[in-house]
């Protein structure tokens, strides 16, 4: 709020020297980024105003990644999207032709300015001694994860478990299927979204282990107390890259391309990367990565492209109707 007021004051001060017209951006994002973008938007507004003299207000919209992509497809005028999976942004390109198919190569690191992974959240003291993925399929272990069919984050969970089992069994896909199927037998509740699942695990005290985005796990520790929960990092996990892009058709219509692109570039800047680290996303920039190195455990990460041949294929094989995930519940 204070920042907002200072921004306002600076705004009125610069107004005297014929400042350009104020501009608004709409950033359509997924659930776990709320806290990060509150800070980042304030930082960017300051940065943009000092460099160009123009005032910028960033409006935020948050929701499930798939639902947000659908809203953009159906006409929500997003200047830029910052979603959980490339698959959802691909859909914006495919179904609504609002952005070129090559959108992901426009910015460094697959257009993902920060990354994360999947870790385990367990109760304090880790009473069930859960160390790695294969502990999750043991009888009597109760696992909480959202539904991969409705939650982007849960798809990362599922794919990480699959790849772990596949590698453990020398690349045997049928063993991987058995493993994932045993894992989901241990799931008592499938919430529709990541934050709902967090509540089930923390507030309702259901389950021994919760599969979660790393940044969400840290946030849960911060919000609900490190005296109740702790994070366990498995031996191997998936490189979760939440990508960003400007929506070309919208920024060209609204004339906001310059500021929208600057916004995304600012995510890669020192300040943006530092904020990402502060909000428990793993930064890309070496300096910022160094600064937050102690915060993140070392873990072998594999990418979805090398393990599953990209999102499109993973989605079709595993999560579409009649796919592997549906067959588990036959």
């Amino acid at each position: 709020m204070k920042r907002f007021i200072t921004a306002l004051l600076i705004g009125t001060a610069t107004l005297a020297v014929a400042a350009p017209k104020p501009v608004t951006l709409l950033n359509v994002s997924y659930d776990p980024t709320r806290e990060f973008y509150v800070d980042f938007n304030a930082a960017f507004a300051r940065h943009w105003e000092t460099t160009t003299g123009q005032k910028v207000t960033i409006k935020q919209s948050h929701g499930g990644s798939g639902k947000q992509a659908r809203s953009v497809i159906d006409g929500l005028p997003a200047d830029l999207v910052t979603l959980a999976l490339a698959y959802d942004i691909d859909a914006i390109s495919e179904k609504a032709k609002l952005i070129p198919a090559s959108w992901q190569s426009r910015l460094p690191h697959n257009s993902s300015p920060y990354f994360s992974t999947i870790v385990f959240l367990v109760r304090k003291g880790n009473p069930k001694e859960i160390k790695d993925w294969d502990d999750l399929v043991k009888p009597g272990i109760s696992v909480i994860t959202p539904n991969p069919k409705t939650s982007g984050g849960a798809r990362w969970n599922y794919l990480a478990a699959w790849e772990f089992a596949k590698r453990r069994n020398g690349g045997d896909e049928s063993k991987a299927r058995e493993f994932v199927s045993a894992l989901f037998k241990n799931v008592p509740v499938l919430d529709s979204g990541a934050r709902g699942a967090t509540t089930t695990f923390v507030q309702r005290e259901i389950g021994d282990v919760f599969l979660s985005w790393e940044n969400e796990a840290f946030l849960a520790l911060k919000e609900f107390g490190a005296d109740k929960l702790e994070i366990v990092v498995p031996s191997i996990s998936i490189l979760a890259e939440p990508p960003v892009t400007v929506i070309d058709k919208v920024v060209d219509r609204r004339g906001t391309r310059a500021v929208a692109e600057a916004y995304l570039n600012f995510l890669y800047s020192e300040e943006g990367q530092d904020l990402a680290g502060k909000h428990f996303y793993r930064p890309r920039l070496p300096a910022a990565a160094q600064k937050y190195a102690t915060q993140f455990a070392d873990v072998a990460l594999f990418t979805i492209d090398e393990a599953f041949g990209g999102w499109k294929q993973a989605q079709e094989t595993h999560f579409s109707d009649g796919g592997v995930f549906d067959q588990i519940y036959k």
Binding site: G64, R70, T150, S192, G196, Q203, D321, D326
Partner: protein, 273 residues
Amino acid sequence: MNPSRKTNVLPGFGLSMGFTITYLCLIVLIPLSAAFLKTATMGWPAFWEAISAPRVLASYRLSFGVSAIAALVNGVFGFIVAWVLARYTFPAKKLVDAFVDLPFALPTAVAGIALTAIYAENGWIGSLLAPLGIKVAFKPLGIGIALIFIGLPFVVRTLQPIIEDLDADVEEAAASLGATRAQTFFRVVLPAVLPAWLTGVAMAFARAVGEFGSVVFISGNMPMKTEITPLLIITKLEQYDYAGATALAVVMLVASFALLLLINLLQAWSARR
């Protein structure tokens, strides 16, 4: 569409009917037809496959079955509540009366969260039931509780004005002709309120079948077990499968429409009798 009763001297049929039809078309029928047309784009085999997959069938059983039970529970208790509110006086009655509308006012998501908190094994009521071996949250029973909560005002509020308007003269006449109170109730009162009761129960049912916001929190969403049909609609949307989603919606719509129509016909028939 002229009124068939030639002797009717009342004016305004054309105006009120015209307005009704226009408004109905603009707000309800034209948008709803969008769902049907979207479904039509997918072709018959794909449509059949979408609406008859085993998981979908399991979800119909759950959605329609639990909704029916919840509507009947509301039918019984809602009647008692409406009767008590309309006929008796007791302290804080106005406040109790006001409570009945709570399920409408409370956002369904909040209702779902509150009910889950209460009926989870570490909740106020859940912790009392757990030692008895009764689990509510994340089981079909939990869905039932949420649907009873959602549907209750429909039954009470449909019945209440009718019971209040019942003419005491008729009851008095029955009594003075030697009918016992029970006879009066079953022969005079019940037939008079039956149409409204049916309407209330049907609306509670129809509302329950489509309910999403409160149920997803308490149901646990396990495929084949506690997965409701509206959740499957959302699941299809997540895959950008608009046609598949509207296909399920159309099935639910047609089923609910058939049921509502049946009840309205029953009512018209009982009114004519």
